[in-house]
């Protein structure tokens, strides 16, 4: 079983991201269970979306304490939410940042300027979708084509086009970065 935590503020699309990722994994043939945890349950408050996936049915429903993968949509949460403590040794963390972070205990931290990429394409900050595209590079279980499929089921029209573009940018950026 693999576990993913998305660190975000309420309103930054963490639940949508977990749903799209889970949907893409289900299309690949995995079982998946995604769920949110709200702190203050207010827009802008720190929150988490969790995702588990496995080859067998998932019955465990507790919060994920340490994950194999993390995505940090809002950089300010990296320290305040102790993201490093929420990662297993030998894990990956994608962070929406222009800074470089050092790896510790096999916790690989990969920075992407997701806000910048999103702003250039959409004029707004949809960092979560950029990170989703990049996630398909660091994790071979989820294929970018199936991520696009999952997005097509979730969005329509212009919103879909922009999301597809953002995911593709994130994917290409990570591919170049990790070449």
């Amino acid at each position: 079983m693999k576990e993913v935590i998305i660190f975000a503020r309420a309103g930054q699309g963490a639940i949508t991201s977990a749903q799209i990722l889970g949907s893409a994994l289900v299309k690949t043939g995995f079982y998946a269970y995604a769920f949110p945890h709200f702190g203050a349950a207010r827009m802008g408050a720190p929150m988490n979306a969790f995702l588990r996936y496995d080859e067998k049915v998932i019955r465990l429903r507790t919060r994920i304490k340490t994950a194999d993968y993390a995505m940090v949509v809002d950089e300010t949460l990296f320290e305040s939410q102790n993201v490093l403590d929420s990662l297993k040794n030998n894990s990956f963390c994608l962070i929406n940042s222009q800074k470089t972070y050092s790896n510790t205990n096999g916790k690989k931290i990969i920075s992407l300027p997701a806000n910048k990429i999103s702003q250039e394409i959409t004029g707004r900050m949809f960092a979560n979708t950029v990170l989703l595209g990049a996630f398909c590079v660091i994790n071979n279980d989820v294929k970018i084509d199936l991520l696009y499929e999952a997005m097509k089921e979730r969005f329509k029209g212009k919103v879909l086009d922009l999301n597809l573009k953002l995911a593709k940018e994130g994917y290409n950026f990570a591919k170049n970065l990790l070449k």
């Binding site: 977990a18 749903q19 889970g22 949907s23 289900v26 079982y31 998946a32 269970y33 995604a34 769920f35 949110p36 945890h37 349950a41 998932i58 019955r59 465990l60 429903r61 507790t62 919060r63 999952a150 089921e153």
Partner: protein, 395 residues
Amino acid sequence: MKQFLEGATSIAKTVALCRPGVIAAYPITPQTHIVEELSAIVANGELKAEMVNVESEHSAASCILGAVATGVRAFSSTSSQGLLLMAEVVFNIAGLRLPVVMCCVNRAVSAPINIWNDQQDIMTLRDAGVVLFFAESIQEACDLHIQAFKLAEDPAIMLPVIINIDGFVLSHGYEAVEFPSQEMVDKFLPPYNPPFKLDPQNPLTFGALVGPEWYLETRYAIHKTMLDEVPNKIKQIAEEFTKMFGRTSYGLYEKYKLDDAENIFVSFGSVAGPIKDVVDSLRERNEKVGLLRIITYRPFPQEIGDILLKAKKIIVLEKDISLGATGALYSDVITSLYISAHRNKVSCLPKILGYVCGLGGRDISLEEIEDLYRKEDLVESEFVGLKKENLGSFI
């Protein structure tokens, strides 16, 4: 094809397939998404129903009471304080023998205010004459809604049914869910056609005043239906459902690895999932352990005592407590065991350990569940994961 969807959305889509004519909505976390989605389905013209935005849960329950009394299938859902505000009306719904179906997204009860999951809210209506189902997964929650309408509306039953799902864990969780076609649901669930209804052409009185010479019998009638008719009908409907939709529906309870089990967990709701994980892990280490998962909590299945009588140790785990007494399930299990022992002339009862967990959304880990399995001391309602440092000024 399976869709990876939120529990609340999945339940709304399933309820829409059951074609209710009236839906009453009053928002309360964590139930809100169900009526929100249903309202979208109605607004999009996918379901022909009257969506009534009411001003309180008391009105929501009254609205569906009225709708069903006139012969229209109706639905509402609520949580926590909302359910408490409905309580008075729900007792009426049962007494009027109206087959209302509702979803209770289980949440802790104030004060202190807490929006997270436990199963305390529904225990308030335990004795109302409502059939109570508890779902373990989102798929099961959906499947139980379809069965609930069929059960409630059966002329031999005519009682309300509430499907309980754990707040956030299932309501806000996403799982791959399979939806039946409209044709299949229509075939399984014919239109609601009650023998008696409010109709100006044929005036009848519902819920008249009765004196001491009649009331006792009305209560007995509900009790008798609960004991004699409901369990068999649930089994029959579950079998029919399994055959028709190709997904196992267990009906009254699920026996998980019980065949040779000496130690048996008893629980309900989504916490049964992690308990199954613990059972599997203990089985790998040759421990003879299983889980008896209660799906139908009211009526309480009479076989429970017989099933548990052969166990050495029983561990009851539940997310509710009758403050000042014990957990509700714990007392039901003991009663059932005692009756069964008496009937079977068995003088030695298994050891029973009662635990209360997860109140107000507190997580319970696999390690904690396994620790409970290792314990031998008799406890009535021990709180799992109690933080002594938090008790401070309370005690």
